[in-house]
């Protein structure tokens, strides 16, 4: 590895060949301002904010895209560089709805940060903004074209990570806009609501539908018995909203914080994750033994369900009929739980804290309502929204004392907590299935990356002589590859886990904006650490699970299970 010597702001440094000026500067504590740059994405160099002066070059250079050369002399703060940065930011602001004080991303906006950092006190350019309609059509995602800075991050994640290309640059020059095909509303195109676009957007051009006020209204409504469920992924991520180290397990603080909001009972989606394992594990065994449709594919990721319904409805019979843990929880809350505490289900208000934006539309699906009138899950808040709401409530998260979940849904297992990581559902399911079939404990799943198919892993386990090949895929681009294998008869898998988002739910579209692939890995590590620290690590060993079957469900895949815990899907191709 060749080392290159160069000078940045009069500092002589030595960095590996191939390093960009941006990263070279970081090694000596110089953070050159950037805007369109994202460490997980292709270098775009279109905002032209990160420009620096390189001696000998007539023009300024974008530090994100320029590799260092031997003897290069860089000045990141020359008069020309500082002025150019200001001008380019002012140009963006002149075509931006700068209503910062009331904006969704106030204090958490990369454009705002840059304008502040550049010391802009007045925009010398006249505004050229022609206000366009805000797209509110989707229950999960909102598009505000008046704030878009045309960085292209959303396009890249939707096109390359998800393989969908729902939005793209439409038109040319200053009338160029980021739009769905034909300029349609999001709800009229095959968007899957995964929200990865909202995760990477540097400003408030794409964001999740905010439901915080609804939650306050319920909490402050004396007639409502308000309960909350928290996804496995939230406990290893929420701390980042309060500047805690990524990968911190803050389960106890999470429970404490939710109580501070005045919520009546704080429950854990992990409970129904365990429940899902029992139902889904049994469903797999039933399909294996009775010639059911195989491979069976998991169904807890609503972005994934949205995908298969709109793009490959012919393969819907392969999807498990199990509801997601979120929805199982809502159904149990408004039947079993309502009965147990003697409250009218109509007076029970279920909040769900999720790393996911697609969960918002999942909760609104008409079939996700036991009584046919009220949704089983009343509202979904993303991790980001919870962070906002806690700040609104004045909760100092990092200084809270730990608290524990309420019963009867307080006992959960390590198998449940790993749902948040890609491969977690598979491992959780197999821990139970393996033990039920062989009577032995599954030590560890040995995953191998599928050759030529990155993002897809496979493993094989021996179920008393029957070799069961399984696969795990995350991101929709990889899900599509798996489906194509099934369609063309090339799949010899029996059970497949699909997660819509990179890294699994911990990398979901509703997670903190600081999310990067490096941070995803930290959250995954924390997830498996949390699993190791759980006293019970297999779903079928949970006493809470045993109770609910004894008291209510009777048996897996039984009548009550089918009524409350299983669902059906729709062919939504060709809208």
């Amino acid at each position: 590895m060749n080392m290159i010597e160069l000078t940045i702001n009069n500092n002589k440094i030595s960095v590996p060949e191939g390093t960009t000026i941006l990263n070279a500067a970081k090694t000596i504590g110089i953070e050159i301002p950037t805007l369109c740059y994202h460490e997980d994405q292709i270098i775009k160099a279109n905002c032209r904010v990160c420009v620096v002066e390189v001696e000998g070059n007539k023009n300024l250079s974008t530090s994100c895209s320029t590799q260092v050369t031997q003897g290069m002399v860089v000045n990141t703060n020359s008069a020309r560089a500082l002025e150019a940065r200001k001008v380019n930011i002012e140009l963006i602001l002149a075509n931006h709805d700068a209503d910062c004080l009331t904006c969704q991303r106030n204090l958490n906006c990369e454009l705002q940060k840059n304008a502040n950092q550049a010391g802009i006190r007045v925009n010398r350019f006249e505004s050229v903004l022609e206000k366009k309609e805000i797209d509110n059509s989707s229950p999960s995602i909102v598009r505000n074209p008046n704030k878009c800075i045309k960085c292209g991050r959303c396009i890249e994640v939707c096109r390359d990570v998800q393989g969908l290309n729902i939005v793209d640059m439409i038109g040319r020059s200053d009338s160029m806009e980021v739009l769905p095909a034909f300029g349609k509303y999001l709800s009229d195109v095959n968007c899957i609501s995964c929200g990865l676009c909202s995760l990477v957007c540097p400003v408030a051009a794409i964001y999740e539908k905010e439901d915080i006020q609804e939650v306050w209204d319920a909490i402050n409504n004396p007639k409502k018995h308000v309960i909350v469920q928290t996804a496995p992924a939230v406990r290893v991520s929420i701390g980042e909203e309060f500047d805690m180290e990524p990968g911190t397990i803050s389960t106890g603080k999470l429970v404490s914080a939710l109580r501070q909001l005045g919520i009546d009972k704080v429950f854990d989606t992990d409970f129904t994750a365990d429940l899902t394992i029992i139902e889904e594990g049994n469903e797999l065994l039933q399909r294996l033994n009775n010639g059911g449709v195989l491979p069976m594919i998991t169904s807890c990721s609503p972005g994934w369900i949205n995908f298969i319904e709109q793009y490959y409805p012919e393969l819907l019979p392969n999807v498990s009929s199990c509801k997601s843990p979120q929805q199982m929880f809502g159904a149990i809350a408004k039947t079993y739980y309502a009965e147990k505490i003697g409250v009218n289900p109509e007076d029970i208000y279920v909040i769900s804290i999720m790393p996911c934006t697609a969960k918002k539309s999942e909760a609104k699906r008409p079939e996700m309502s036991i009584d046919g009138k009220n949704p089983d899950v009343d509202v979904v808040l993303t991790t980001r929204e919870l962070g906002k709401m806690l700040k609104q409530a004045g909760v100092d998260f990092s200084s809270l004392k730990d608290d524990t979940y309420d019963n009867p849904f307080g006992i959960t297992t390590g198998a449940a907590v790993i749902f948040g990581a890609t491969g977690g559902v598979m491992e959780a399911a197999l821990r139970t299935v393996y033990e039920v079939v062989t009577g032995k404990t599954l030590e560890q799943l040995d995953f191998k990356v599928v050759r030529g198919l990155q993002g897809i892993k496979e493993a094989e386990i021996d179920l008393n002589g029957t070799k069961v090949k399984v696969a795990v895929a995350h991101t929709i681009a990889n899900a599509r590859k798996i489906l194509e294998l099934i369609k063309t008869g090339k799949s010899d898998y029996l059970f497949i886990e699909v997660m819509c988002c990179p890294g699994g739910c911990i990398g979901g579209g509703g997670q903190p904006h600081s999310t990067t692939n490096a941070i995803r890995q930290k959250r995954i590590d924390a997830t498996y650490e949390a699993d190791r620290n759980m006293p019970i690590r297999k779903s079928h060993e949970s006493p809470a699970i045993k109770s609910i079957y004894e008291e209510f469900l009777i048996k897996p895949l039984g009548e009550k299970s089918h009524k409350y815990l299983h669902t059906h899907y729709k062919n939504r191709k060709n809208k």
Binding site: C47, R48, S65, V87, N88, I92, M169, R172
Partner: protein, 429 residues
């Protein structure tokens, strides 16, 4: 095209224009065509490239990069497959020289392309012709067909092991696709937005493979270089600019058209002696060189020699060689608005300074033109132009402000007269 028995004209690549039927390959062969190719297939790649280097030929599309060096880079790479692209997306306003070559001597350009491909071991080539040049597209397609039948292109060129599959691609109405990477993006079936440079096309071009991309006129010179030798070409023109340049002369002149002149001829000579000067005895107000992206110079500068170095020393460039004459009837600001509207329409939209800057320039120019601007606006205009030049992603944004920058320099009084609080002390140029 006007062919004068004029000492100003030097016929190197326009010798067949109007003298042969472009749809007849036999006409071209009888005029000496495809001899260079037959010679080239017996030479090594190094030999051919050496001749091009010796000729000091610079790219004729506007950027003026030494062709021999570009070819050498593609010759020396081990990465395959390699591609060739002929940039026939002539979109710079005021330019029509490539149209002339494409429609009137298609085989000369083809021969040059094939020679380059043979030299560099390239088996796939694209000729990207702008969508509005339908006649040229037809003619080139026919020429390729004819050349294939004669064994000059396709499999086993001139009965050797060389092969070249040439394909014509049509543009679809985007000036930016004349930029090398935007063009390559367009060939790959996408919107024409430029890529980060480096790497340059010689390293990573079509399908991220090494690509030789040159202008129509540049390729058209290659047969001469092979036939006569690079040194002969270098002896034409000046010490710092070798060979001839096809000048597209237009605007307010008696004899608009394409003139092939040796470098060293002055702008004024082209306008007066070849162009016949301005009709109706009107005076020249301003001349734009190169095209819409080129400098606007006053009549006092018309004795500038068409020479890369001499012009560079003055801080200007001749670009693709257009000369647009504008007479005294026209208002400078109207001309500038036309130019800026062009760039605004043609900007690809990718980068901030160009996407937002072109229309902001228009706003400021309009303000100045209608007399409501102050010195602050003028300073802002200068700053904006400077930032567009120094930070735009590609040549379009970098060159778009040239008309404004040069008129600010050479026609300062026109601005000064319209600015309320202008004074000599606040002159900041």
């Amino acid at each position: 095209m006007n062919s004068n028995n004029n000492i100003l004209i030097k016929t190197v690549i326009t010798k067949n224009i109007g003298k042969i039927n472009p749809n007849s390959i036999d006409d071209y062969i009888n005029a000496g065509g495809y001899k260079a190719l037959q010679k080239a297939v017996k030479m090594t790649g190094v030999q051919i490239v050496d001749q091009v280097k010796a000729s000091n030929l610079k790219g004729r599309g506007g950027a003026g990069f030494p062709t021999g060096i570009k070819m050498e880079a593609v010759l020396n790479t081990d990465v395959t497959p390699k591609y060739l692209v002929c940039n026939a997306d002539e979109g710079e306003p005021g330019n029509f020289k490539d149209k002339l070559l494409l429609e009137n001597d298609p085989h000369q350009m083809l021969e040059g392309i094939i020679i380059a491909a043979v030299a560099l071991n390239i088996q796939k080539g694209y000729i990207y012709i702008r969508g509005e040049y339908n006649k040229a597209i037809e003619i080139i397609n026919l020429a390729i067909e004819q050349a294939t039948k004669k064994g000059f292109v396709g499999k086993n060129i001139c009965s050797t092991n060389f092969s070249l599959d040439l394909e014509v691609r049509s543009g679809a109405g985007a000036y930016i696709c004349g930029e090398e990477f935007a063009l390559i993006e367009s060939i790959e079936g996408k919107s024409g937005r430029p890529r980060n440079k480096p790497p340059f096309p010689t390293v990573s071009g079509v399908n991220s493979k090494p690509t030789l991309i040159n202008n129509v006129e540049t390729f058209s010179v290659l047969p001469f270089i092979i036939n006569e030798g690079g040194k002969v070409y270098a002896e034409i023109g000046t010490a710092t600019s070798s060979g001839t340049k096809l000048i597209s002369l237009s605007g307010n002149v008696k004899n608009p058209g394409v003139y092939e002149v040796p470098f060293g001829v002055t702008v004024g000579q082209v306008i007066e002696q070849l162009g016949g000067g301005v009709p109706n005895n009107l005076k020249i107000k301003m001349v734009q060189l190169g095209g819409a992206s080129g400098p606007i110079i006053p009549p006092s500068m018309l004795d500038i020699k068409l020479d890369y170095k001499e012009m560079a020393d003055l801080g200007i460039s001749m670009g693709s060689g257009a000369i647009i004459v504008i007479d005294e009837r026209f208002e400078m600001f109207d001309i500038i608005k036309k130019i800026m509207n062009f760039f605004r329409h043609e900007s690809c939209g990718k980068c901030t300074p160009c996407r937002e800057g072109n229309r902001q320039i228009l706003k400021l120019i309009s303000k100045i033109d209608n007399g409501t601007a102050t010195i602050k606006d003028l300073k802002l205009l200068e700053t904006l132009c400077s930032v567009m030049v120094s930070t735009s992603f590609c040549g379009l944004g970098q060159a778009a402000p040239t008309a404004v920058i040069t008129t600010l320099k050479y026609f300062t009084e026109e601005y000064a007269n319209k600015i309320k609080d202008y004074s000599l002390q606040s002159k900041s140029v």
